[in-house]
Symmetry: C2
Subunit: 187 residues, 2 copies
Amino acid sequence: MSMKLLILGLLLERDMHPYEITLVMKERSMDQIIKLQMGSLYYAVDKLAEGGHIETVEVIRSPDRPDKTIYRITDKGKELMEQLILQQIKKSDPPYHPLYMALALSRYIDQEKVAKLLEERIREAEHQVNFAYQVYEEHISLVPRSSLHLMYGRYEHCLTELKWLKRLYDDVVAGKMSDKGSPIIDP
Amino acid sequence: MSMKLLILGLLLERDMHPYEITLVMKERSMDQIIKLQMGSLYYAVDKLAEGGHIETVEVIRSPDRPDKTIYRITDKGKELMEQLILQQIKKSDPPYHPLYMALALSRYIDQEKVAKLLEERIREAEHQVNFAYQVYEEHISLVPRSSLHLMYGRYEHCLTELKWLKRLYDDVVAGKMSDKGSPIIDP
DNA sequence: GCCACCCTATTCAAATTTGAATATAATAAG
DNA sequence: CTTATTATATTCAAATTTGAATAGGGTGGC
């Protein structure tokens, strides 16, 4: 659903063809917030077009390349956008975290392997934190606060994740993952 | 994938039938970490059985109810488990957050509606934080640290989310979502 | 000058997830 | 006593996501 929302949001600014949407997404590092899968994008565009929420402006044909189909958002599309936004704000699935599951079971396997991988993860998480903060800082005077909240929120979530990974790592190398009885202490 | 991991993990403790797995999941509030959809569960069980990672122990037939098929994990299944755990730790997609997208676009629509929904969200988030903390506290002396990290991590993530929602809410009621130029301040 | 890789643009089959339907029994609420 | 909800157990069609395939053109390096 949030792919549809993204498409509608971008078409609000100007008419585009699907591939162009991917470019804009990358430019604005939106691909960090919503997974950019070509298949899903084209699928969502088709569905929106079927439903009359977006419509074809023109098809650009050139002999060597695939046709470009440029779309525009319709009034129906703008209504759908409002609905989708409200719907998304409303529904609050808890943040599912695939690593949680893996970590709970990780004590059954070779702790050295786990530690190695966690190190990599921590390094990546550090990059993500830095990057997210940079993106935030660079946009302070450029984008409306709604977008800024998004960037700052991403920074904070990444930071929370990083701290968690570090605690895990410490326990793994200390061989404590199977211990019982002691609470987790914040650094 | 993490559904398969969950199934393998639980079958490690004892043989079960799929429905029983759902019960254990709820008991341990694992349904907060991984979405519990019956369809997905049965699908994953079928796939695991097909691949020889789990096998049928017995089928209990009773006249009035559907048959219960009880499964056990195989050696091949234990190997798969190790692989899946390492794989999950390795791959680090950034935490996709569907609300981010919605919020970035929310300034285009009626701010009062947004504020109302955010209030509800905040209330829910508060419950989640409290619940997550309770779950953590109650398990301190009962489960190994690997599981405890999971619970504490969940608490922290929920807390980060809550703070974020509150900042958003403040800006929405102050009508600042379209403003530019000022940084986000932590409370 | 050619090899390898990235860019442009889209399509497709296969895997997976979703959401609801099925059918019966037990328990609770009024 | 009757109606509503919850528990038992699984299945299925439809929607969606994934991951890779396609196919020609441009670009940088050696």
